[in-house]
Amino acid sequence: MFSEEEIKEEREKDWRKELREKIKSSDRAKKERISMPEEDATSRSRNSVEVNKGLSVEQALSESERCLDCANPTCISGCPVGINIPKFIKKIESKDFAGAAIILKETNTLPAVCGRVCPQEIQCEARCFYTLKLGKDAVGIGNLERFAADYERNSGKISIPEVSKNNGIMIAVAGSGPAGLTAACDLSRLGYQVTVFEALHEIGGVLKYGIPGFRLPNEIINLEIDNLRKMGIHFETNYIVGKTESFHELKKQGYQAFFIGSGAGLPNFMNIPGENLVGIFSSNEYLTRVNLMGASKPEYDTPVLSGKKVAVIGGGNTAMDSVRTALRLGAEKAMIIYRRTMDEMPARKEEMKHALEEGVEIITLQNPVAYIGNDKSRVRQIRLQKMTLGEPDASGRRRPVPVENSEYLMDVDTVIVSVGVSPSPIIPLALPEIEMTRWGTIKVNPDNMQSSVPWIFAGGDIVRGGATVILAMGDGRKAAIGIHEFIQNKIK
């Protein structure tokens, strides 16, 4: 994170002053936000192309001019990793796209990822001057971040962050999702010798198995990972820290500290009758089969059941990913079933808009109470109950209350249960000495992500429960600093 002084200092540099003088703020504010170009809804719902096409150079230049380069950039405080947002946007305006990418990478390990999947509308863009004071559309910060990252990637000249001289001190990272990758990158930059251990056969965690290619293509993740390799980070797949080898065995091999970023992979089920019928999946299983195991492609051996009448239970981003994947697998009817209303849905508005454009039906104020199977134990109906909204619950949202005598049957052949995830129990089981919360997450000091075991740090979903990519990255960043301080104190 940059200090206020650093941000002010950068803003006062000549190149920034010149840009501000080129166009008056009042003229900048007259421009309308440029919309992200998208693939046609009907055709894209049957293929796996990325839906958002990315801004063109002209569009990016135009959008970057909208940024007023505020004296007090409130947008930065909205970013979980503290990117110097005006600085990178002004680099775009000055046509130094490569420079913009370098600035992004100073604070963000995976800008091509964040530019695509961050909920900017509740983060940086929610704190943009346009949003807060002018009542207008925010600067397209996310779209510009994606533009700069993609430009650099396509140019073939990918910048590798500067790495301090290798100090030979070994750090182990468990999990190659966004938290682990960020911790590894930051620690590597500080000179540590980092090895990332990944349980699956591919690197990227939820980025690979969870987020579909039409939102985040796997090639992009692989390129970002190659950059991390070039920094000197080692990756080991098919390795479960705590089972393949124990934490103590790794410590004996010389690892001085650990970052646990093993995620919240355990799918939640509703524990209602019939939930174990064939054709009822967790969203994790459904998405893993398609995104990680290539189930939609004939040359890959892993199958998936692609139904015609698919119901996805849930209202978050994962539910949206699942229902849109169902369409792409050939569903004739792809539905979201959510127990509250669209206003309470946690999914990004953009995802909901894309889903509706593609033909997804969103059914609100309804909840499954049971599933009915056919004689082959395949699900064929859901018993749904209508809901109404009552008083707010712990999350602050109005509580769904069942409506008496409102149950009815809906025909389906596939159901995807997307009602949240819990932390994987494997690592906590391997570390009985570590303090856990009653939800199965690892307890950490929120300032440095240190657990009750001094040489073990943790971040991301294993600490938060199911959350976002960018929050995981922020944790990875904090933990890297925490680990660095821990090691340096030990040395003293």
């Binding site: 390795y239 992979g265 355990l266 967790s282 051996d301 994987s424």
Partner: protein, 274 residues
Amino acid sequence: MYKIVDKIFLSPNVFSLEIEASLIAKNRKAGHFVIIRINDKGERIPLTISASNIEKGTITLIIQKVGVTSAKLSLYNKGDYIQDVVGPLGHPTRIEKVGTILCAGGGVGIAPLLPIAEAYRKAGNKVISVLAARTKELLILESEMQKHSDELIIYTDDGSYGKKGIITYGMEEVIGKEKIDLSIVIGPALMMKYAALTTKKYNIPTMASLNTIMVDGTGMCGACRITVGGKTKFVCVDGPEFNAHEVDFDEMLSRLTAYKEEEMIAYEKYNQGD
């Protein structure tokens, strides 16, 4: 990449592969399994580790040819490589000295039973093993099981070897003459269901090692979920062994059919040389 250092056919459709996987060999205990992926287009499948050798750094997997992946794998030989192997997965068998153990293994289920019988015997238990197969040709690991059993009884459906009958006959035979403190049953799901019903009659505590469909094997997807004692459990992280009297075997059997059609079509295509 994991090198195959030995391969043997134990019966026409069952073969054993010894694979270099030193880290897994080091930490492996009876009851553990691995997930393998033979190449980058392959599926992830679970296989029990039936033996390991720490000095050589190898694990042994015994595989039955039932579909595309196992058929492709049956053509791999010494010197070939399997792309991905991860483990050891699952909870190891809880080995205690309880007295007399009745081990019942059906078909390829004898492979995961072997290390468990070995471990229980080493812990000072008396081990009586009943092995069953459809015919003599399909019986595997007889001499290995003999080594780790105080008594070994064999049944074949057609009577071509040992006694004629099914595994539950053998179990009843043993229960009839010995006090059994614990039973371990491993084999096809239907076999385990009836084996468990048999021991339930006599209130003999019984553990079954379940073999459901799996994808990741690390608790991430729920493909392997079953109902035990009315609660949903994941075989990969809560098992693979469970109290056999509490397992809903009928549900497990139906969940095993999830991809039957896809599997049959794919296997036919494969056999036709596609």
